[in-house]
């Protein structure tokens, strides 16, 4: 099976520049330099690459909104979103620790495709090892003339900077990320204007997830058709880094063709730990709806998961076993979101702590019947269109599906006046 992103990935001793080059590294970028930016964009469109940051927006189409040509603004930016703070998600860290040059090359290709002269790698601050390895890789690339002025005599120049953040989940939201990069409080921005038109420092900017960018070297090197064929059975193209965590035997990450099933992934992880059964799972990080064991065979691709009532999100599965309390799990998730709310809009800032307060009462057996109503009202209160950005609606997803699928558990907490899992 072809694993274009992780074939040479090694978290102990990642490839240095020479090693990376030996396995075909930077050939994608070299191919890109031979094309016009428009042609590079077309390759990516043809490859049907969709963003791996959670929303699944087609990458080529997103690039297409950036003004190009003579009249376009002189300054344009490419930003790699490596904030990765979604609970249950650790794929970008794996890629960056194990294959730093892959990401750098991906960023260079994307930057070239949109005509950006500066690129920022926005990394969450806790990933110190990533930071060291990326810094090293950037230095190597600079020294080899792959970054800097007039790269390889192509006339194209690119500066690449690593920015380490100081820890806030909202920084992963692309417009909040831009504010964070500008040294501001990371509130999201209203759209329009979209970042593609007026983003970082008011200039056209593309924000792409780290994994999205890691797909680019392969696409450029081996062509869109190859990329689509990677996932021959799926509506989507390419491979995806899937992961699983929770009480499974061997939690971890795997690069699989798009459309692999959760059952496959669970099997790769060796199934649930001894004596535990799967109660439910979040397909792609904390801000996706619960699915049940009966959904395990649905292909993990954007539309299929959506049809089942959830989202592919980041592809990082979180497995809930039968010895952990679903109410406790929802409470833990909501506490995370309440803590990480940026505070800009009312439903999220005050609604999430409110939900957390109710949930913690229920969890400790002090809840009452009305609390359940109140919770579902709060789900409505923070739903799409009612908040400023997608953080709160994302937070609602596991809560509302939890209320639906684990209604009995909620009821028992109220009826028994205690948490049945804690006896």
């Amino acid at each position: 099976m072809d694993k274009p992103m992780t074939a040479h990935l090694d978290t102990q001793n990642p490839q240095d520049l020479a090693g990376y080059r030996d396995t075909g590294g930077y050939m994608g970028f070299a191919r890109a330099l031979d094309m016009t930016p428009a042609e590079v964009q077309q390759q990516v469109k043809d490859a049907n690459l969709r963003g791996r940051g959670g929303a699944g927006f087609p990458t080529g189409m997103k690039w297409g909104f950036v003004p190009m040509g003579q009249d376009a603004p002189k300054r344009k930016y490419l930003v790699c979103n490596a904030d990765e703070m979604e609970p249950g998600t650790f794929k970008d860290r794996w890629l960056m620790e194990g294959a730093p040059h892959l990401l750098i090359e991906g960023m260079m290709i994307a930057a070239y495709a949109i005509g950006a002269s500066r690129a920022y790698l926005f990394l969450r601050g806790e990933y110190r090892l990533c930071a060291r390895r990326l810094e090293q890789a950037i230095r190597e690339a600079e020294e080899a003339g792959l970054l800097g002025k007039d790269i390889q005599g192509s006339g194209y120049s690119l500066e690449l900077h690593l920015h380490t953040s100081a820890g806030r989940y909202i920084c992963g939201e692309e417009t909040a990320l831009l504010n964070a990069l500008e040294g501001k409080r990371a509130h999201p921005r209203s759209k329009p204007p979209f970042p593609q038109i007026a983003g970082l420092f008011g200039q056209p900017t593309i924000v792409n997830n780290a994994e999205t960018l890691c797909n680019l070297p392969g696409i450029l090197r081996r062509g869109p058709a190859w990329f689509r064929d990677l996932a021959a059975d799926s509506d989507d193209a390419g491979t995806k880094i899937y992961g699983i965590s929770g009480r499974v035997r061997q939690a971890g990450l795997w690069e699989l063709p798009m459309g692999a099933t959760a059952r496959q992934i669970l099997d790769l992880a060796g199934g649930m730990q001894d004596g535990l059964k799967l109660r439910g799972w979040l397909p792609g990080g904390a801000s996706t709806d619960f699915l049940l064991p009966e959904h395990l065979d649905i292909p993990m691709e954007y539309d299929a998961i959506a049809k089942a009532g959830s989202r592919l999100g980041t592809g990082g599965i979180i497995a809930l076993d039968d010895q952990h309390c679903p109410v406790g799990m929802v409470l833990n998730l909501i506490q995370f979101f309440a803590q990480e709310s940026c505070g800009w809009c009312t439903p999220c800032r005050d609604g999430l702590p409110w939900a957390a307060e109710i949930l913690s009462r229920i969890e400790t057996g002090k809840g009452c019947q009305e609390d359940l109503d109140e919770l579902s009202k709060l789900c409505d209160f923070m739903w799409m269109g009612k908040t400023f950005c997608a953080l709160a609606p994302g937070a609602v997803e596991p809560m509302r599906s939890g209320l639906k699928y684990f209604a009995d558990d909620f009821q028992q907490h109220i009826d028994k006046g205690c948490c049945p899992y804690r006896q």
Binding site: T89, E126, A166, G183, R185
Partner: protein, 171 residues
């Protein structure tokens, strides 16, 4: 126009290396204030946290007001505006770690250190803080100690680590 009787001298509060590092960060951006977070992280290294006078000095160096910088410093989780211990321990409390019973480890830590989350030990040795998901979900439970991630925690492993801190540099 207000008379500033004592103009702020950055060098009084920031070392030459710190100033250089901040200037280098500034060079990465279009505008100096954009380096705010880098700068705060740089000055935090020296004593583990950012005090008022160093905050003011950084604000002055970046050409922004100290109120604005305060707004930024207090927004981010990992910039400390209060003194912390010589070691800072962040225990992950998000979902994958929770599923791996990090709560029990938390109780163990509290007991061992006689500290609540958010507190610093009386001898100034250690500060105990929670952290949202550290991206170590496959090796849960996890924590971050002085900036480095430590995975696959157990009570025994924690005890060992704490002991090494006790027996180590701080004796």
């Amino acid at each position: 126009m207000k008379i500033a009787i004592r103009t702020l001298d950055h060098t009084e509060h920031l070392s030459q290396e710190e100033i250089q590092a901040i200037e280098a960060a500034c060079a990465h951006y279009e505008q100096r204030p954009a380096a705010a977070i880098d700068a705060l992280m740089i000055v935090q290294r020296r004593q583990g946290w950012v005090d008022d006078s160093r905050l003011e000095a950084v604000a002055g160096l970046l050409g922004m007001s100290s109120a604005e910088l305060e707004g930024i410093a207090t927004f981010y989780n990992h910039i400390y505006r209060q003194p912390v211990g010589r070691h800072v321990l962040h225990l992950c409390n998000s979902i994958s770690c929770w599923l791996c019973d990090v709560d029990k480890l938390a109780d163990h830590l509290r007991e061992r250190l006689q500290l609540e989350f958010g507190q610093t030990s009386a001898d100034g040795r250690i500060t105990l803080l929670p952290n949202v998901c550290l991206g170590c979900c496959d090796k849960a439970p996890a924590m971050m100690l002085d900036g480095e991630l430590i995975e696959n925690l157990s009570a025994e492993k924690l005890d060992e680590i704490l002991a090494s801190l006790e027996g180590g540099e701080d004796g």
